[in-house]
């Protein structure tokens, strides 16, 4: 497999959409990259992390997305080509600086990559469409449809950014980010990594009345960008046919579904594929629809383009029938099936294969569901179990965003509400101000640094008394094991200070603080009980490394974790272990409870809670 740093022009490699973004940046002479990990954008940062040193560029996992964007903006203002990437909620976090970043403009190319997640495969808080940000932010937006385009559009974005002296937004969706495809390499560019900030430029001072001048300028830039959008090959027609009565407008990942659906129905309809979706090429769209009887707008999530097409049609072709969200869902990602079904409705043509009959047949199978769950030996499971035993059913359990969100499922059920990263401290503060219910909130170590600190300060300052349990598993686990400020290592693998959570919490003036190993179940239950009765806020740092990470480290050293088993003679089949923990390694077969040795990661929690002393370590 060719390296992503390969210098061979024309070489073909199979890359993820996310990896292709990185290659595009490298072919653009990037000098600075920052991110906060978030699926579906995580591999952009991870790929930078793995190559930054060799490529001679700077990369960091910033503490949160707002800071990542600010840092990239700072480097770009100083003349170094910069890129920042995050998932859709990352742009929400960064939005406060996103808008001024566009106003401030840039000196060197500055690209912002955001990945939406239709169907919420890895997202808990909302199914949002970031395309609205482009309009609010007055920022040009590009939407690639495959890995090759991910690379090409990134290069185009850097040039566009420098030409217009403003950041450019690239929007991906889960399937663009997580599709692998063949990418043809271009020339690598060695970019600048050192620059200089121009103290005398008035541009960078966002302050009235200058800000109103800049706002006016932005609208002028948008006009010029629209002209560029009209001429750009990024917006072009496939299957050109002047006599066609029907056409399709689409972009991004949906373009692929359209092409496959047309092939299945043996149809050759003209397709206007948009690569630049903000600002839209109004004249090009008008020209495309002016002689059509009907047009079908295929887009995931909200009807952003469809609404504009409806607006343009009032001038260009008021009689035209416009199909879109009347036939394809607003909720969930699209696929060929959904586009095909809509096309069959519009054209009256049927596919050979009877999808409806097939689906009926499939639904009859009634297959038991399999939900995602915490790994065997996960320290979060141990903490949740102890918290539930200590807090009982009356206590409120505030959830947050990370692996521990999986505590939402039975039997753990420790996520009574979920907002956004770090938000549970704010929410529980409000609850505690109006209610006497006992409350525990959980948040991870990375989340604590990301957005948890201000919430905790607010709890101290405005005097409420929840118990905050910081699940310190020594890593950012859910997104693929990225380092965070508590670990003493940077995104480039360099040593740095390791921020000590307990000391930080004590520094905020919180008196009830204890660090506990969650595998010590008795200690955890006792401390939770004690802290729940305090009149002031309290914090437990549940400190234990992510079990997957421990497992990986031990394997490297040729070591094995202990494995537990159930003694069938002592087991009274009470099923406490099975029913209380929901551990994937504990299973039932022919009425007997059993620990699956190939799955057990040896946390010992089941051993500690078995009322009959029937669980023991397997002797090798």
């Amino acid at each position: 497999m060719p390296s992503i740093l390969s210098n061979k022009i024309g070489e073909k490699a199979i890359l993820l959409g996310n990896e292709a973004i990185v290659r595009g940046a490298l072919e653009s002479g990037i000098g600075f990259a920052a991110t906060y990990p978030g699926t579906p954008a995580s591999e952009i940062g991870d790929t930078f992390a793995s190559i930054a040193r060799n490529a001679g560029i700077y990369f960091e996992y910033s503490v949160n997305e707002k800071i990542a964007l600010e840092a990239a903006a700072g480097a770009a203002l100083s003349g170094v080509r910069s890129i920042v990437s995050f998932k859709q909620f990352g742009l929400n976090v960064a939005s406060d600086s996103f808008l001024p970043a566009v106003y401030n403009g840039t000196k060197a190319g500055f690209v912002i990559v955001v990945a939406d997640d239709p169907s919420c495969w890895s997202s808990a808080q909302s199914e949002q469409d970031c395309r609205y940000y482009a309009r609010m932010g007055h920022i040009p937006m590009l939407e690639p449809s495959d890995p090759q385009e991910c690379k090409e559009y990134t290069k185009f974005a850097f040039d566009l950014s420098e030409k217009f002296k403003m950041p450019v937004l690239i929007r991906l969706t889960t399937r663009t980010a997580h599709t692998k495809g063949v990418v043809k390499y271009g020339k690598m560019e060695k970019g600048k990594t050192r620059g200089k900030f121009d103290k005398n430029s008035i541009r960078f001072r966002n302050f009235p009345p200058q800000i109103l001048e800049t706002h006016k300028e932005l609208h002028e830039k948008l006009k010029k960008l629209e002209e560029l959008s009209e001429k750009s090959e990024l917006n072009s027609v496939f299957n050109k046919d002047e006599k066609a009565e029907m056409g399709i407008i689409t972009f991004g990942i949906s373009f692929n579904y359209v092409m496959d659906a047309l092939k299945i129905l043996n149809l050759k309809l003209p397709v206007l594929k948009l690569g630049m979706t903000y600002p839209l090429p109004e004249e090009k769209i008008k020209d495309f629809i002016k002689n059509l009887k009907n047009v079908f707008v295929v887009e995931e999530l909200e009807a952003v383009v469809e609404e504009k097409v409806k607006e343009f049609a009032k001038d260009a072709n008021p009689q035209i029938k416009i199909n879109g969200k009347n036939l394809i869902p607003v909720v969930g990602e699209l696929n060929v099936e959904k586009v095909l079904t809509a096309l069959m409705k519009i054209t009256g043509i049927k596919s050979e294969f009877d999808f409806e009959k097939h689906l009926e047949l499939f639904k009859k199978l009634k297959i038991p569901v399999r939900k995602p769950m915490l790994c065997p030996g996960c320290p979060h499971r141990a903490t949740f179990y102890a918290a539930k035993i200590a807090g009982g059913v009356e206590t409120i359990y505030g959830g947050d965003v990370g692996c521990y969100i999986l505590g939402i499922f039975a039997p753990l059920k420790t996520q009574d509400f979920i907002f956004s990263m770090g938000a549970n401290e704010g929410v529980i503060h409000g609850i505690k101000k109006v209610s006497d219910q006992k409350a525990i909130v959980f948040l991870g170590d990375s989340t604590f640094f990301h957005a948890g600190l201000p919430g905790l300060v607010n709890i101290v300052y405005n005097k409420s008394n929840p118990l905050i349990i910081i699940l310190d598993n020594r890593i950012t686990a859910m997104t693929g094991h990225q380092p965070n400020p508590g670990m003493g290592v940077t995104g480039m693998g360099e040593d740095t200070v390791s921020l000590h959570i307990e000391n930080i919490v004590k520094g905020l003036g919180i008196k009830n603080v204890k660090t506990i190993d969650p595998y010590n179940v008795k200690d955890m239950i006792g401390t939770v009980k004690e802290f729940l009765n305090k009149k002031e806020p309290s914090v437990i740092v549940a400190k234990r490394e992510c079990r997957l990470l421990t497992l990986r480290k031990m394997r490297k050293e040729g070591l094995k974790l202990p494995v537990f088993e159930i003694d069938p003679k002592k087991c009274k089949r009470c099923e406490t272990c099975l029913m209380q923990l929901g551990c994937p390694a504990i299973t039932r077969e022919n009425g007997l409870v059993r620990i699956e040795k190939d799955l057990c990661n040896g946390c010992s929690v089941c051993f500690q809670l078995c009322p009959n002393g029937a669980i023991r370590v397997v002797k090798e």
Partner: protein, 197 residues
Amino acid sequence: MKDFNLVIVGVGGQGILTLQNIVAEAALKEGFDVKTSELHGLAQRGGPTPSHVRFGEKIYSSIVMEGEADLVIGLEPLEALRAAYYGSKEKKTVFVFDTWRIVPSSILTQKEKYPSVKEIERSLKNFSSKAVALNASDLVKKETGRVVSTNVYLLGYAVGKKFIPLKKNSIIEGMKAVIPEKYFEMNKKVLELGMKK
């Protein structure tokens, strides 16, 4: 050649992505256009994680359509059954799956029933031309001491039976590109074991 559609299913952590990447590299070696689709993050934690590989002259969508799979490789029986969505008699889909179960917690706590291999085979009849259940993980464990190479064994079986239109040499090239060097020989042995079955 018509586009070839492969779906690989199992539970997060079973080596689905490794298998996907091997096949994708092998297809590229043979000059095909290729796309894969995978899911990361939340979905990976013990959830069902279907991965798709499509190759042919020109590939647009990376996701295999309902009823359009040529081959389904299942690393877990219940997930093989769930992949019936991608199989059909019309397409003459072939299912190859391992019989080692990872029982979902909902079955244990709500006392649902995990279907037997016989039941799964019977159900898949409506969605395939052939469904092969193999006791692959046990065989692999006996041979290598661990179950991790079960994915490669199942691929070897599919290659040996010509359920996938790629040459053995291309698959081996794909394995070289994807599998760390120190595990390569062991996996090559497992591939050949699968091919001989």
